[in-house]
């Protein structure tokens, strides 16, 4: 652990330097304190934000929506991706639709989704789902199609049926690529949950952020921004840990 801390030290020092520079710049009056408050002020406001009941409520709402949309997207992306990657007719059937939907910048779907599903949870889950689906799906198809044919032949010579071949051979063998797709999807899901909350302005961290900005509570706005940064970091680190557990073998062959 001390070795890891040592490795991180220069990078952390760099961040500390910039925070200190911002503090000095604001205190010296080089930047407008109204728009760019002292980092120490933001930190103090962070304490208040974190201690308020609104924080847990907003965090719970955002994480709940993200989890629902993201996990649905992963499940659908992996299942459809395995089917498309393993079974040629399924691929032929869905591939044009996929190529049509994939390039749409997903925020462009927000206005129609709001018309169709309203401003509530269903719309937000739908937009997260659509945004997170494609990276998982594309990578799963790619993974399933590039599994070492020797492994597939092993399953054949031992007379494993299609279902067991898919779940016992294709799925685990594709896992490194699937997880890479899931990582991209997680980032997109976070962007889309915050964006949809900012747009509807009802609950969640995104709504808190725009509320603070519109009411000109600038310190609080920065505090929510920092909360979001921390959420993104926490998600990325959790994902790393999950990945290390699931594909510990992938660099060993």
């Amino acid at each position: 652990m001390t070795g890891r801390l040592k490795a991180l030290a220069p990078g952390l020092a760099f961040i500390a330097f910039w925070i200190a520079a911002l503090e000095i710049a604001a205190r010296a009056g080089w930047v407008n304190r109204v728009f760019s408050p002292y980092p120490s002020e933001i930190a103090a406001r962070m304490g208040q934000v974190l201690g308020s009941p609104a924080f847990l409520e907003a965090l719970g709402s955002t994480v709940g929506l993200l989890a629902a949309g993201y996990l649905l997207a992963c499940a659908a992306g992996i299942l459809l991706g395995l089917a498309m990657g393993y079974h040629r007719p399924t691929y032929t059937l869905f591939e044009p639709t996929l190529e049509l939907l994939r390039p749409i910048p997903k925020p462009a779907l927000l206005p129609p989704l709001i018309l169709l599903l309203g401003l509530g949870a269903a719309m937000k889950i739908a937009i997260i789902f659509l945004g997170a689906l494609f990276p998982v799906l594309i990578n799963t198809i790619q993974g399933a199609r590039t599994v070492d044919p020797v492994l597939v032949d092993v399953a054949r010579t031992f007379r494993r049926g299609s279902l067991r071949t898919v779940f016992q051979v294709i799925l685990p063998a594709s896992l490194p690529l699937i997880l890479a797709g899931m990582r991209v999807s997680l980032g997109l899901g976070l962007i889309l949950v915050i964006l949809s909350e900012m747009l509807t302005g009802s609950d969640g961290l995104g709504a808190k952020l725009v509320d603070a900005q519109r009411a000109f509570r600038v310190q609080e706005m920065y505090a929510w921004t920092v909360v979001l940064a921390a959420l993104g970091l926490a998600l990325a680190l959790s994902f790393d840990a999950l990945e290390r557990r699931l594909i510990f073998w992938s660099s060993k062959r």
């Binding site: 070492d148 020797v150 492994l151 032949d153 092993v154 054949r156 010579t157 031992f158 007379r159 016992q168 051979v169 685990p172 063998a173 896992l175 594909i247 073998w249 992938s250 060993k252 062959r253």
Partner: protein
């Protein structure tokens, strides 16, 4: 002994950029129940393709393979193909024990232990394939193949990427397992000594497009020993004959 496996006029043509390539012209071969037969031939003559056709992994362009009188169209029950690329054929996310379990139709840990014991890897069941040497990995693949309790084992140059001593060691293991289980083994190899040492009969293939040039009976008595049998006059005679034929200019 009864005819277990019949290969009848099997031909294989591949589509390549330069047109159709005939890999196997017409192969006829019969293997008796309990026999150990080797197939040798020049490199690139289609030996592996032939074995994959017999395994039901690759369809023949024409002709047929009969297992106990029934045509092989998909991997049949009781036939297991052992891959040359052992490191690619084992699943890196499974332990040695779980890899062997993949061969069992219904996973039973004590059966797994039995087969790992047969190949001398009882102490390595909790390890991962990538933690083992090449020879040990091939032993895991052999244990997995045996766990499926095949009547016919098809070996595709199974020892070609291990060092010479490990190779002799694995030859001994296969001969021992063959003697103990009474299964039928068909071995494809480019190593003439290996073929003569292990087999009851050796089928020599011609250059591509391949046909069976001749099937040689092997007079080398059993039980065979890794050192003495290789100095036996009958071993040397067959080796001489096979190598001479293989090295003949086209």
């Amino acid at each position: 002994m009864s005819e277990l496996l019949q290969v009848r006029r099997v031909a294989k043509t591949f589509d390549a950029r330069e047109g159709q390539v005939v890999a196997l012209r017409s192969i006829d071969l019969t293997v008796l129940k309990g026999e150990f037969v080797s197939i040798v031939g020049p490199s690139g003559c289609g030996k592996s393709t032939l074995l994959q056709i017999i395994a039901g992994l690759v369809p023949a362009s024409s002709g047929e393979v009969l297992l106990e009188g029934r045509a092989v169209v998909a991997p049949p029950e009781g036939v297991v193909y052992l891959f040359q690329q052992y490191s690619r054929s084992l699943m890196p996310w499974l332990t040695v024990e779980k890899n062997v379990q993949f061969g069992l139709q219904n996973a039973a840990p004590e059966r797994c232990a039995h087969f790992l014991d047969m190949v001398g890897l009882a102490d390595f069941r909790a390890r991962y394939p990538w933690e083992l040497s090449g020879g040990m990995q091939q032993r895991v693949a052999i244990a997995r193949a045996l766990a499926a309790e095949p009547r016919v084992l098809l070996l595709d140059e199974p020892f070609s990427s291990v060092d010479a001593l490990t190779r002799l060691d694995l030859n001994g293991l296969i001969m021992d397992l063959w003697t103990r289980t009474g299964i039928t083994i068909l071995l494809v190899t480019h190593d003439v000594e290996e073929a003569v040492y292990l087999s009851d009969r050796v089928a020599l293939l011609t250059r591509r497009p391949a046909e069976v040039a001749q099937v040689f009976p092997n007079a080398l008595p059993r039980p065979r020993s890794p050192v003495d049998s290789r100095e036996d006059s009958r071993f040397l005679a067959l080796r001489h004959e096979l190598l001479t034929r293989l090295l003949q200019p086209a």
